[in-house]
């Protein structure tokens, strides 16, 4: 079910040209805002057109080219009603917009029904951690940069920042909510169509702020349950000798920062890699999750994402091959 990275997974009707555009939205948290966006845009464009036409006609109507100083100034009557009429029209438009704004604010404040689940999302420099805890802590699991949700059901998102401030934004599903260290902000989202919805960090957070994307993947409820069940599993034991060797390399080289559940690797600095191969991208949306990209990334992530906090992995080629083989088992 791996779909092409940027647009192929777009929901039906979504403009494949603009995966981050928000003039078409796909859920009740965003839809009323989209209506508001169109409404205020139309008012705004109308105002610009009217004033531009007024200025242009005003200039061209009686414009002259002669020496300025030669033209005798006059007292000029009757300008004040421009201000009166202009203000009256402005007030009507503003008042209407304010009422609409407050209405939308109330409308999208909380979901209509009880949320299906709550996801704890933490912004890191420069990736997203997502923990699905639910009521039973033993069923909790953590993943990164890809958030699966069931279609048609509201999902709560609890946001915080691990280091600096980040901002959570899935344009087609929900506006921005900041992920601030020391605070927990709450957002919610709901996708009415299955598909892949792209998001990106929108609070400047350092060198690789540009490469801090995430994907929300809305699956039919059964598929979502299957995905969650699979994610809950620890990593499968490697079978082939090369993979076993790879696991050892992983625990030694990568385990201080990364977790693979079911192994001694339990680092919490970088993303949980227990089911790495189930994700469609690496480096927080930077590269497609292909074997080639993955091995390039492991060898020298700095070349691909300058400033990233992951150091190059300095191991012999045979170990690198083993590591790669092991990572491929993390499905």
């Amino acid at each position: 079910m791996l779909q092409p990275l940027h647009n192929g997974g777009a929901p039906t009707g979504m403009s494949p040209d603009w995966p981050m555009g928000f003039l078409h939205t796909y859920g009740p948290r965003a839809d009323p805002v989209t209506g508001l966006a169109w409404g205020l845009s139309i008012i705004s464009i109308a105002v610009v057109v009217i004033v531009t036409v007024l200025v242009l006609t005003g200039v061209l109507r009686r414009a002259g080219r002669g020496e300025v100083a030669a033209l005798r100034p006059v007292r000029g009557e009757g300008g004040m009603q421009w201000i009166y009429i202009g203000l009256a029209l402005t007030l009507v438009a503003l008042l209407g917009s304010l009422v609409w704004t407050v209405t939308v604010l109330a409308e999208v404040d909380s979901p209509a029904s009880k949320p299906a689940l709550t996801i704890q999302v933490t912004g890191h420099q420069w990736w997203w951690e997502a923990t699905y805890s639910g009521d039973d802590p033993s069923r909790a699991f953590t993943t990164a940069n890809e958030i699966h949700i069931p279609v048609g059901q509201p999902v709560m998102v609890k946001l915080t920042g691990a280091d600096v401030i980040h901002s959570f934004w899935i344009p087609t599903l929900t506006g921005k909510t900041d992920a601030i260290p020391g605070r927990t902000n709450v957002a919610w989202l709901q996708a009415d169509q299955p598909g892949v919805y792209r998001g990106q960090c929108t609070e400047y957070c350092g060198q690789q702020h540009a490469h801090m994307a995430m994907y929300v993947i809305a699956d039919p409820p059964a598929a979502f349950q299957a995905w969650a069940a699979q994610q809950r599993q620890p990593a499968a034991q490697p079978a082939a000798p090369q993979q076993v060797m790879g696991e050892q390399v992983f625990v030694q080289q990568c385990g201080a920062c990364h977790t693979v559940r079911g192994t001694p690797a339990g680092g919490v600095v970088g993303p949980d890699l227990t089911h790495l191969m189930s994700r469609r991208t690496i480096g927080a949306g930077l590269l497609p999750n292909t074997v080639g990209a993955l091995s390039g990334w492991i060898e020298n992530p700095q070349a691909m994402k300058p400033g990233v906090l992951m150091p190059p992995t300095k191991v012999a080629p045979v170990q690198l091959a083993a590591l790669r083989a092991y990572l491929e088992t993390l499905r």
């Binding site: 940027h6 647009n7 603009w18 995966p19 981050m20 555009g21 928000f22 003039l23 009323p32 508001l36 205020l40 705004s44 004033v51 531009t52 005003g58 200039v59 009686r62 414009a63 002259g64 300025v68 100083a69 030669a70 033209l71 005798r72 100034p73 006059v74 007292r75 000029g76 300008g79 421009w82 201000i83 202009g86 203000l87 503003l94 917009s97 304010l98 704004t101 407050v102 280091d163 600096v164 401030i165 901002s167 506006g175 921005k176 909510t177 900041d178 601030i180 260290p181 020391g182 605070r183 990106q200 929108t202 609070e203 400047y204 350092g206 702020h209 540009a210 994307a213 930077l286 400033g307």
Partner: protein, 649 residues
């Protein structure tokens, strides 16, 4: 006439060559470098402000062009992320702090005493101090950047990224201290404007007769006095956190959002600080070219003040996504939407002035009229972001980049360039070339819109701000190419302006006193004005002293050629705050290097603090004390002298 407060009653006289010669001797700047450093002439200081601010505008513009080169395609690697981050930070710092406000201070410094019929600002030495500290702060703020450690957290400098943990170099310390230093300049400059407005208008210039530019700058100055302490405090606390381990902004023991509140409590009023005086230029300039007074002087003046007052209640619209409760969001949405009302007053007043006037299409007029359109575009996009739920989508995207550039370039740069075309003859005695001027306007206007109008679309297509690059497949590439091309065209427009200035300085048409047939007092004196501005203090009978015969509003006439004679040393007149009734002769200070030395000493203190070179801070402090002694050393007051010089009468 009111009672004279502890000073002699000045005599009145006709303007004669004899008076001029005497005043020239009293007011003229001394030659040489020391004379140049010591000058406290508002016109000299004003020009220095304008030249420095334009130089920094060009630096900031070059930074922008480099960024546009980087963004002209996806995943380009012309700049490293760190280089890009420093560039966009310095671009913002330069344009917002070192260009936008100082350039207006320059115009106001130059023009105010001329507009108000006075001989200088109320505190000429404070005026010089304000400029020198500004220059020092500009050098200070760039010191890190030129050695490769510029601030890299944006002009907004959010914590915790600005904390020592994530930014261990001295870059942020330089930014913090540099901005506190600049805040001192802004504060003393603002205090000077406020007192000048209240006390040194010429007789008869009651507050309902002052040009709108002075309303704009007065309002901005009061705004500064209230807003700057917030940002100075914010940066001081940050410096304490970074250097002395306090926890004001710490996520665990402090509060990162405190920074945002303090910063935007300053930051939003600052937006009005950098546009209101520029709007004033348009309000004063348009009538000259429409050959009629401004429609709605009183509503426009009131709207200016109202904008600033409301401007203090909208800062949270920069923080709509920070998770504040709905009630707060509704309030600040409402306040931000309400601020459209005074802006609309200005727009309709300008449009009505054009419609009911007989516009003469000159270059300054084109810039002023073009500004109205850009103002409205920047205004409506601001109105859209004022709507909290919509802002959740728009904030931190290129939509906001478009918005803020329509505000800052549209409402600041366009009026400023228009103002330069308008007042250049007064500054230099020569006109800027009109033909080149028209080319200049259209290149800048078209270039600007090609560069920034599509950015709205980029925002709607979801492109975030402050990204050093962007991936393919987002649909952003073509639009970014257009934006970059527009930026180049805009830069060519600015280049045409520079060429025009360079050529016209030498070969421009000689202007004469009042080349535009304008109504206000600055055009009543020569171009450029003499060091003392007016040989006798004018007295004013209406808002349009030079148009009184044409308008025929009343029989009262302003007097330029006959007025108070103040020629016993550097003197000007003080008047009552509302009605401008003269009541005191002000003894004005002579030229002195004290402000320059004080600024150097102060900079030494700050540089020492930045580098932990405490000896330097100590030396700076000593110099500062010395400069203060020099500054406050008692002068022999002319009023105390025996009346031994009756010959002048």
């Amino acid at each position: 006439m009111t009672a004279w407060e502890d000073s002699r009653v000045p005599e009145t006289a006709d303007l004669t060559q004899d008076v001029r010669d005497r005043l020239k001797e009293i007011w003229e700047e001394k030659p040489g470098l020391l004379g140049w450093i010591s000058s406290v002439d508002h016109k000299e200081i004003g020009k220095r402000y304008i030249v420095t601010a334009f130089a920094l505008l060009i630096v900031g513009g070059i930074e922008a062009l480099i960024m546009r080169l980087q963004l002209a395609g996806p995943e380009r690697r012309l700049l490293s992320p760190e280089a890009y981050d420093q560039l966009f930070t310095m671009h913002g710092v330069t344009m917002i702090f070192l260009y936008a406000s100082p350039v207006l201070s320059g115009f106001s410094n130059y023009l105010w005493p001329l507009l108000l019929g006075s001989r200088d600002m109320a505190f000429p030495r404070l005026n010089a101090l304000s400029y020198w500290i500004y220059l020092a702060a500009a050098v200070f703020l760039y010191a890190g950047f030129v050695v490769g450690h510029g601030p890299d957290d944006g002009w907004f400098n959010y914590v915790p990224y600005a904390s020592r943990e994530y930014n261990p170099a001295f870059n942020i310390d330089i930014y913090a201290l540099g901005l506190i230093l600049l805040g001192i300049s802004t504060t003393v400059g603002s205090a000077n404007f406020v007192v000048t407005f209240l006390r040194t208008r010429c007789p008869g210039m009651s507050i309902n007769r002052v040009p709108i530019l002075t309303w704009g700058t007065l309002t901005a100055s009061v705004g500064n006095i209230l807003a700057v302490p917030s940002v100075s405090l914010a940066f001081f606390l940050l410096w304490m956190d970074r250097q002395f381990g306090t926890h004001f902004y710490d996520a665990n023991q402090g509060q990162p959002l405190l920074w945002q509140h303090l910063f935007w409590m300053f930051g939003h009023p600052w937006v009005y600080v950098v546009v209101l005086p520029a709007m004033g230029m348009v309000s004063d300039g348009l009538p000259t070219f429409c050959r009629r007074p401004l429609v709605g002087y009183t509503p426009v003046a009131l709207a200016t003040v109202t904008t600033m007052a409301l401007g203090f209640g909208v800062w949270v619209h920069h923080m709509f996504a920070t998770g504040l409760p709905n009630l707060a969001l509704s309030f600040f949405s409402g306040a931000s939407i309400a601020i459209v009302i005074p802006s609309a007053v200005a727009v309709f007043a300008w449009t009505a002035t054009i419609w009911t006037g007989r516009p003469r299409i000159t270059t300054p007029f084109l810039f002023f009229a073009g500004m109205i359109v850009l103002f409205v575009i920047g205004g409506v996009s601001g109105f859209m972001t004022a709507s909290a739920p919509l802002d959740w989508q728009l904030t931190d995207t290129y939509f906001v980049v478009a918005h803020l550039h329509y505000v800052l370039i549209g409402i600041n740069v366009f009026p400023v360039v228009g103002g330069l075309y308008y007042w250049f003859p007064k500054f230099t005695g020569r006109m800027l070339d009109e033909r080149l001027g028209k080319w200049n306007f259209w290149t800048m206007f078209v270039g600007f819109n090609v560069a920034f109008l599509p950015m709205h679309l980029l925002g709607v297509m979801g492109m975030p701000r402050r990204v050093y690059t962007y991936p393919q497949g987002m649909g952003w590439t073509a639009t970014n190419v257009v934006v970059s091309l527009g930026a180049v065209l805009f830069a060519i427009g600015v280049l045409l302006l520079l060429i025009n200035v360079a050529v016209s300085l030498k070969r421009g048409r000689i202007a004469g006193d009042n080349p535009w047939g304008a109504p206000t007092l600055e055009w009543a004196t020569t171009s450029p004005p003499p060091p003392y501005n007016f040989a006798v203090i004018p007295s004013v009978a209406s808002r349009h002293p030079l148009w009184e015969d044409a308008l025929g509003e009343s029989t009262a006439r302003s007097r330029i050629d006959h007025g108070l004679l103040l020629d016993r040393g550097r003197e000007t007149i003080a008047t009552s705050p509302l009605d401008a009734e003269p009541n005191l002769i002000l003894e004005m200070p002579a030229d002195t290097p004290a402000p320059f030395l004080l600024a150097v000493g102060l900079t030494g203190i700050f540089a020492g603090a930045a580098g932990h070179w405490w000896w330097l801070s100590g030396a700076g402090g000593a110099l500062l004390v010395l400069a203060l002694l020099m500054w406050f050393w008692p002068r022999r007051m002319h009023a105390d002298e025996p009346e031994a010089e009756p010959a002048h009468v």
